[in-house]
């Protein structure tokens, strides 16, 4: 699942179920993350980390850092590895691909028991200046 860029059909898409409007694009600073609370389809509250890249795309991955168990991914440093946008965990410095959530560098650590080593990633659509996440 990768981040979607705004497209003409975006408005109709995000009005349906399965999408949650989170915040205006302007609330996200480029190349920094922000956390958001989103209610999943099962009614559970989910913490999501949103990242706005320089080109205006927004990526969303889980806020839970699987290597520390803390909800902190949005507070990691954004960068690139071989040109691919990444975020580094602020706790133990694992590096994850922002578009897919895949862990590129586990920094020699194992994820906490019961947690996957990669981050879940979620589709994002920016429509009418509002960031929508594909959850809900």
């Amino acid at each position: 699942m990768t981040a979607l860029t705004p497209s003409p059909t975006a408005t109709t898409l995000v009005d349906g179920p399965g999408w949650t409007a989170v915040c205006p694009l302007g609330a996200l600073a480029p190349e920094r993350g922000a956390a958001a609370l989103v209610t999943g389809s099962d009614g559970e509250e989910l913490q999501v980390a949103l990242f706005r890249l320089l080109d205006g795309t927004v990526c969303a991955v889980q806020q839970l850092d699987p290597y520390s168990g803390a909800n902190v991914m949005s507070r990691g440093i954004v960068g690139t590895r071989g040109g691919t946008p990444t975020v580094a965990s602020p706790v133990y410095k694992q590096v994850f691909e922002l578009h897919t959530g895949r862990c590129l560098d586990a920094a020699g650590k194992e994820p906490r028991a019961g947690l996957a080593g990669d981050l879940a990633s979620y589709p994002v659509v920016v429509s009418g200046g509002v960031v929508h996440v594909g959850i809900g």
Binding site: V38, G69, R81
Partner: protein, 898 residues
């Protein structure tokens, strides 16, 4: 020979079967070595372990008292035991061996066939034949179960000794004794102390550690041990242990000389006996003092039976150390794979693992070699005793003993059997007296004793196996992968070899910059750049086929942020700079393990008014923060959530506090003693100087954190010589020391200049710090920087004091710019709505606390709940004591009232 060599995988025959009896440290190493090298899958391994757990780090057994978690003692990569070719049977001792049938029978009566059998049954703790050695309260010290039982006993005795009186609770101390004053006995005595018991070491011989060290060393050691609060009785034989009249537990020890000692617990540490019972029963030869006799290939007289580790009697003796055992494991693994390895002889170097007591010995420590000469350096005042044993040529090193300061041990031990360059006594003198000569290690010098890796092997890793960094050399040779004591040497050898091989030692910061931090600093300064985008566009590395260098990473971004801050580019959260900061600098607070932050207001020189203390206390109370005094003489408040930080700082700033920069790679604190204003010994106003220094350098961004200290006289109560810059008052001014630090590799600061006036002191420190900021590597503290600076401390002295490079004025100006440009980072954030906006917890719910945070009370404050406590919804009642009960895990806003 390895029969499967060259066979294509599809037709590979079934693997052969090697059975290992014993699941200890050496068995672990054997399985690791075999699996690492047996690429063809020629062998499958079955390990029978008597203990109910995976092999663990017995050498680190005493750590169990700290960590209280057997998992922490895990050895190596646990995935080893998931390997389909490896089978581990725990709690499953082997009961007998049938060599004719090539089978073993386990304790459940099951029979297992083997192609090859490896005995790795280790030793058991010896139980001296003393009357009463079976009384409840007598322990040995060999396994996790032993230490767990010992701990339980001491804790229950402590409980029993607690009586309520009208004046409050009185505890009768638990009285412990350790029989045996060797390595193990001293470690056990330290453990008793750590458990809160009294400890007396009973030594039969003339002095402590008599196997390893000589009488002189033994005396020095006794003083050190006494200083730890442990009593020592030497020349004492224990005659009997008597039960307590009422409880029937151990109560008293009777000594041969008529002396007595009342005790509640006794630990026997008188030596070990090889577990050779299986070998004996199978008719294998055992040594005079036990142990399965093997040749230098570790094979017994039976061609299919091998013995390794403590149970093996090799070259006529059993070896009670892990390093030779590991070597034997490697030899047998190699042999099974068709190799020709033989046991190269034992390295019996030892180092005592008792914190604060430095003892090490190697080689012929007793000077038993004929015509050997001994060079002794003793400083009873400092509690130091060191000795080198040299051959009669006075150059060849035969052995050594170090008590009180084992500093020279790491570099001298590998020189065993080699000629020392220059005067041997130079190696023993205290650091700084004369520079010890640098050592060129011979190829056969053993650098890593844990893994038996020689200097030649490390060099070979670079020259033949194309390793290009220390990590590669570690992976290739295993050097430095166990206790880590040899890492400085491994690094040095690797670097020297790389340089010799003409390999360009890459100082590249990361994939985005070819430059080192120091080069980048100069580049940014000279090119006068002010943003990351400009810098990466100008100096970034563009990979082949890409159009730009990308957007940096968690290594280069904070580095550039620090460089920009050192060069004075305004607030660290201004504009694009905000995107470069790691979370600590971004939130101006220190992230803790649960994602909350700790807050540290500055208290220059450790000085704080009563009003200030009240504000700090009130803030901590109002926001439910855990408080702790730091080592840098100020107060740390933990558990602040992102969205609380501005409110907390509003209160602190209003009360006159400012950021303590505990979060930054920058000046932390200037620790001081009370000095001449109050102290009757003080010769200068150390607090005044500390405050002046702290206000001067506050907010100064640097390659790593900076700590300073100021003492008011030579008694050094501020421990200034453990700091990056230490200032010590003299009756004529100030002495300044540089390059000290605590932490993992503690180092004393070295004298840079003496008897400076206050103005001279400031200028000297200004220049020293600026030079460091400009030329150090990323995350390089001052100690390694001084060491690696071309020409060392002397060259730095010339630059700083004599201005040999002519950059003095430039450094002065840079520092002046910093001092003038300083503003409190927190105040600036509070005054700027845009910067404040980033302190929301969620973009769509900025004041909602992270719902996953959970706390439990402990000692009257809160602490993060563990994963288990969260899962069960309750805290472990043992941990939380009687604070509140039943204790539930509280959410993000637990309030604790004592």
């Amino acid at each position: 020979m390895n029969e499967t060599q060259g066979t294509p995988p599809s037709t590979r025959p079934d693997p052969r079967h090697v059975v290992v009896v014993g699941g200890g440290m050496v068995a672990q190493r054997f399985v690791e070595a075999l699996r690492a090298r047996d690429d063809a899958g020629a062998w499958r391994v079955t390990v029978f372990a008597e203990e109910p757990r995976k092999p663990y780090d017995r050498v680190g057994l005493t750590r169990y008292f700290e960590v209280r978690d057997a998992e922490e003692l895990t050895l190596g990569d646990p995935a080893l035991w998931d390997d389909p070719l490896v089978d581990l049977h725990r709690d499953c001792a082997v009961a007998s061996i049938d060599r004719a049938a090539q089978t073993v029978t386990d304790r459940l009566g099951r029979v297992h066939a083997y192609d090859e059998l490896v005995l790795a049954t280790g030793s058991s703790a010896a139980m001296p034949p003393i009357d009463g050695n079976d009384l409840p309260g007598v322990f040995v010290y060999r396994t996790i179960d032993d230490v767990a039982a010992l701990r339980g006993w001491v804790e229950s005795k402590r409980e029993a000794g607690r009586v309520e009186t009208r004046g409050g609770v009185v505890e009768r101390p638990v009285r412990g004794a350790v029989v045996g004053g060797g390595l193990l006995g001293l470690e056990a005595a330290g453990a008793l102390k750590a458990l809160g018991a009294q400890a007396t070491v009973i030594q039969f011989g003339t002095h402590l550690m008599d196997v390893q060290i000589d009488l002189g060393g033994g005396h020095a050691l006794k003083r050190l041990i006494n200083d730890k609060g442990i009593s020592v009785r030497t020349d004492t034989a224990t005659k009997a242990i008597r039960p307590h009249r009422r409880t029937g537990h151990v109560g008293r020890m009777d000594f041969a000389d008529g002396g007595r000692l009342d005790v509640d617990v006794v630990v026997m540490a008188t030596g070990v006996r090889p577990r050779d019972e299986l070998a004996r029963a199978a008719g294998l030869e055992v040594g005079e003092r036990g142990g399965a006799v093997v040749d230098l290939t570790c094979r017994t007289a039976d061609a299919h039976v091998w013995a390794i580790g403590e149970v093996a009697c090799i070259e006529g003796r059993c070896l009670g150390l892990v390093a030779p055992g590991n070597t034997m494991a490697e030899v047998v693994a190699d042999r099974l794979l068709g190799g020709e390895a033989t046991f190269p002889g034992a390295d019996t170097a030892t180092k005592l693992k008792l914190s604060g007591v430095d003892v090490a010995s190697f080689g012929d420590a007793h000077g038993r070699t004929e015509k050997s000469v001994e060079i002794v350096w003793a400083d009873p005042l400092r509690g130091v005793y060191s000795k080198l044993v040299m051959a009669d040529d006075a150059r060849t090193l035969l052995g050594g003993v170090f008590v009180g300061d084992a500093g020279p041990y790491a570099s001298l031990r590998p020189m065993l059997g080699a000629e020392l360059p220059g005067d041997p006594s130079a190696f023993l003198l205290p650091e700084g007296a004369v520079g010890a000569p640098t050592l060129e290690l011979p190829d056969d010098a053993n650098v890593c004793s844990c893994n038996n890796v020689s200097a030649g092997t490390i060099r070979g890793a670079v020259t033949e196996h194309d390793c290009t960094d220390v990590a590669g050399v570690k992976a290739c040779t295993r050097a430095g992968t166990t206790c880590g004591a040899c890492l400085p040497l491994v690094t040095k050898l690797t670097k020297t070899e790389l340089a010799k091989a003409g390999v360009e030692v890459s100082n590249a910061l990361c994939e985005h910059f070819e430059l080192s931090r120091a080069q980048l600093f100069d580049a940014v300064r000279v090119a006068d750049l002010h943003t990351f985008s400009e810098i990466i566009a100008r100096f970034g590395r563009v990979p082949d086929g890409a159009s730009d260098a990308g957007r940096g990473c968690d290594i280069c971004k904070p580095t550039v942020a620090s460089i920009l801050a050192s060069l004075g580019n305004g607030h660290i959260l201004a504009g694009e700079q905000a995107t470069l900061q790691d979370t600590n600098d971004h939130m101006l607070a220190n992230m803790q393990k649960d994602g909350t932050y700790s807050v540290v207001p500055r208290m220059p020189g450790g000085e704080v008014t009563p009003e200030g203390l009240i504000v700090v206390g009130q803030v901590a109370k109002d926001f439910g923060l855990y408080t702790k005094i730091t080592g840098g003489q100020r107060i740390d408040m933990f558990g602040a959530r992102v969205e609380q930080l501005p409110e907390i700082w509003r209160r602190l700033v209003d009360a006159g506090f400012e950021s303590g920069h505990a979060y930054g790679k920058s000046l932390r604190t200037v620790k001081s003693c009370v000095g001449s204003t109050w102290c009757r010994y003080g010769v200068q106003d150390s607090v005044g100087m500390a405050v002046e220094l702290e206000l001067r350098y506050r907010g100064l961004r640097s390659p790593h954190k900076l700590k300073l200290g100021v003492s008011g006289c030579a008694r050094e109560c501020a421990e200034a010589r453990g700091k990056d810059v230490g200032v010590i008052a003299t009756d004529q001014g100030w002495n300044v020391y540089v390059g000290g630090n605590g932490g993992q590799t503690p180092k004393h600061a070295q004298l840079l200049a003496e008897n400076l006036s206050s103005a001279e002191l400031l200028r000297t420190v200004d220049r020293f710090l600026m030079l460091y900021i400009r030329t150090a590597d990323r995350l390089q503290r001052t100690a390694p920087w001084v060491e690696e600076y071309e020409g060392g401390l002397e060259a730095i002295r010339q630059v700083v004091i004599e201005d040999s490079l002519g950059i003095g004025a430039d450094l002065d100006a840079a520092m002046a710019q910093h001092v003038e440009g300083y503003e409190d980072e927190w105040k600036a954030v509070l005054d700027d709505p845009e910067k404040l906006a980033r302190f929301g917890s969620f973009v769509n719910a900025p004041t909602t606390p992270d719902p996953a945070l959970a706390y439990v009370p402990e000692r009257g404050q809160k602490r993060p709940a563990t994963a288990d406590e969260v899962a069960s919804g309750t805290a472990d009642p043992d941990l939380v004591s009687a604070l509140t009960s039943p204790v539930l895990v509280a959410g993000p806003t637990l309030e604790v009232r004592a």
